[in-house]
């Protein structure tokens, strides 16, 4: 029998024919593998949504919250196309209690050392110095001590003004995070919510680097990227995100911006709003009332 290593010679033509044959086989087989993998991995946003809803269904059952969920009354047109959601943060109203941060942790099982939402405290001193802090993301509030206590002597004077700024994922329209995700694990839903498919994410951390707002982190429990989802599991049930529900000052307003009669649409119609880092052109869906230029 002639095997590869004792066959004296193969003609060049024969060799190229064999190469071409092998190449064609590889191409067809590779194509099949890729297609199959695509079919196996591809997930309709509906599936993800159904899964998220299923997860919350059981939790709602546990907590007995199922009965009190609010029903959004959308216009008929909106019902057909579905709402587009928006988020407004009114920094004039935030009192820095940290209820939102705690509510988010409880709702979303956020690992220690990370935040899906957090509150920053800005304190301005007469010499122009600005002190920003957010101990534990503001989860425990800020107490009554002013930051000046820990400041050097020359800053040890009373601040001239201060405020709190709650932060969360901006759910940008031109998202750098979705743009850079190499495997398409980050995606936007038809409601405008930016989500991560935890079963497709490879945990490369590129989106964490690309987010200008520090909204994303690698969850050490799942080794995948994670961030605020605007409580997608709640909002698809007609509820508001946990942080919105927990806020005692109504500093967080969530709703459908495609419905002109919704509360958020009214607020957006009657206020001047800004976004964070507008110069980056990410076009956030989270908008701010009373944003100071010191806030980045």
């Amino acid at each position: 029998m002639t095997t590869l290593w004792n066959k004296p010679e193969i003609s060049r033509r024969e060799f190229f024919e064999k190469c071409a044959e092998a190449g064609a086989k590889t191409f067809v087989f590779g194509g099949l593998v890729v297609t199959t993998a695509n079919l196996l991995l591809a997930q309709d946003p509906e599936d993800v949504r159904a899964r998220a809803e299923g997860a919350v269904e059981s939790r709602l059952h546990d907590t007995g919250l199922g009965d009190v969920r609010a029903r959004a009354e959308g216009a008929p047109k909106e019902a057909a196309k579905g709402p587009i959601y928006g988020f407004v943060v009114d920094t004039m109203k935030c009192i820095g209690c940290g209820s939102c941060v705690r509510a988010c942790r409880d709702e979303n099982n956020v690992p220690d050392g990370f935040c899906r939402t957090w509150v920053e405290q800005y304190t301005f001193f007469p010499n122009g110095e600005v002190i920003v802090n957010s101990p534990s993301g503001g989860a425990d509030g800020f107490g009554e001590d002013l930051p000046s206590r820990n400041m050097p002597e020359e800053l040890g004077q009373l601040p001239v003004r201060g405020f709190f700024v709650p932060k969360l994922c901006n759910h940008c329209i031109n998202t750098p995070c979705i743009q850079v995700c190499p495997v398409g694990a980050s995606y936007v839903t038809r409601e405008g919510v930016v989500l991560i498919d935890q079963e497709r994410c490879i945990g490369c951390g590129y989106c964490v680097q690309a987010c200008p707002f520090g909204s994303r982190y690698i969850n050490p429990q799942t080794n995948t990227a994670d961030k605020c989802t605007w409580c997608y599991h709640r909002i698809t049930k007609g509820m508001v995100p946990a942080c919105v529900q927990a806020c005692p000052a109504k500093a967080r307003i969530f709703g459908s911006v495609s419905d002109p009669n919704s509360e958020i649409s009214q607020i957006l119609a009657n206020n001047r709003v800004q976004v964070l880092k507008s110069y980056l052109g990410t076009n956030p869906r989270t908008r701010y009332i009373g944003l100071d230029s010191e806030v980045m």
């Binding site: 590869l4 290593w5 004792n6 066959k7 004296p8 010679e9 193969i10 003609s11 060049r12 060799f15 064999k18 890729v34 993998a37 695509n38 991995l41 591809a42 050392g113 990370f114 935040c115 957090w118 920053e120 002190i131 920003v132 802090n133 957010s134 534990s136 993301g137 750098p176 979705i178 743009q179 850079v180 995700c181 190499p182 495997v183 398409g184 694990a185 497709r200 994410c201 490879i202 945990g203 490369c204 951390g205 590129y206 964490v208 680097q209 690309a210 987010c211 200008p212 707002f213 520090g214 909204s215 994303r216 982190y217 690698i218 050490p220 799942t222 080794n223 995948t224 980056l280 980045m296």
Partner: protein, 412 residues
Amino acid sequence: MHHYVTQGYVLPNQAHIYWTMMIVLYPYITGIVAGAFIISSLHHVFDRDELKPVSRFAMLMALAFLLCAPLPLLAHLGHPERALNIMFTPNVTSAMAGFGFIYTIYLLILVVEIWLLYRVDIVFLASNAKSEMMRRLYWILALGVTDISEEAKALDRKVMLFLAAIGVPAACFLHGYVGFLFGAIKANPWWASPLMPVIFLLSAIVSGIAMVMVCYLIVQWFNKRPVDSECTQSMMESAWYFVMVDVALEGLELLNHAYMANHDWDIMKHLILDKLLVSLFVVQFLIGSVVPFLLLGAAVVFRNRIPAGVRNVMGFVSGILLLVQVLAMRWNVVMGGQMFSKSFRGFLDFQIDIYGREGLLAVLFLFTLPFVAMLVFSRVLPLWGPISTFPTRWLRDKPPEYVPLKNLTKFK
């Protein structure tokens, strides 16, 4: 997870270094691939004959490092088992999704190029290697093609020239793309720069030349073989030229940041003058760039006055320093970009992890693998030249039972 020491206000999710030393190692390794390939191509495409002694070695070095290039990435991924998703479900807008394809194409080009380069040797060894097992191995490596007539060799050369010609832009793309990964992140002012791919590419060429030069000298000295000073002189000239352009661009980029002094300059100034003072100014610029620039410059300008042996030592020292420079550059880019918060109000200090999946020991281990691969290659393929340079211990004593073609006799 580390609890990093922070100063100022760091965004809660940014009190962590997400891209670790593995992401420093990855561009370092691919850079050496690109540089080694280009050195080899200078001989194969641009007919720089003085580089002949290292042309094969450089090509195999490119392959050894390329084979190891994905390993730091796999060690870094949160879900390495899903790594192939970047080829199964690539997101076309992601630069990173290009990695799988660019890598595969480049690997194919390199493997075919090396196969053509060694084809005649492989055919010869298939009937003349010492042991039966090795002869079978060479038969397999020959892929059944035993035609080594002059026409066949001429065709090989044509295909090789073509592959090298597309290999050079592919190598540039492979590494320019790594720079683009960073340069296109607008969220990070330390990275966002159209110069980034250019700087990455140039420093890659510098590191590749340096690595080939250093390894060549070490191997020759260790084996007590004469060093071809024409060859080292040529590599020193290339290294001198590329380090000049590379460092000029790196300096220009810093100057540009400082001169424009955008809203992010306050934090960048602090980063450069405090956090990166040693690794940027002392290691990267002073020790890693200025010293080898002067050494290489002297060796090039005063080549007739300095004895060849001294010039080789100068090449060796500058090669080592250039390797340090490029490593420092990767470090300063990757770590520097994560040492300040996107709040632009705070910093964190990176702490080197010794153990663990992405620790220092793992990094050092991965960095030895390309050299292990070179060692394996050197047992199968002659690194330094064609058949005439084979160690005779590779060949069997009695004449081969079968000689594929009479052409082979000319090698005896």
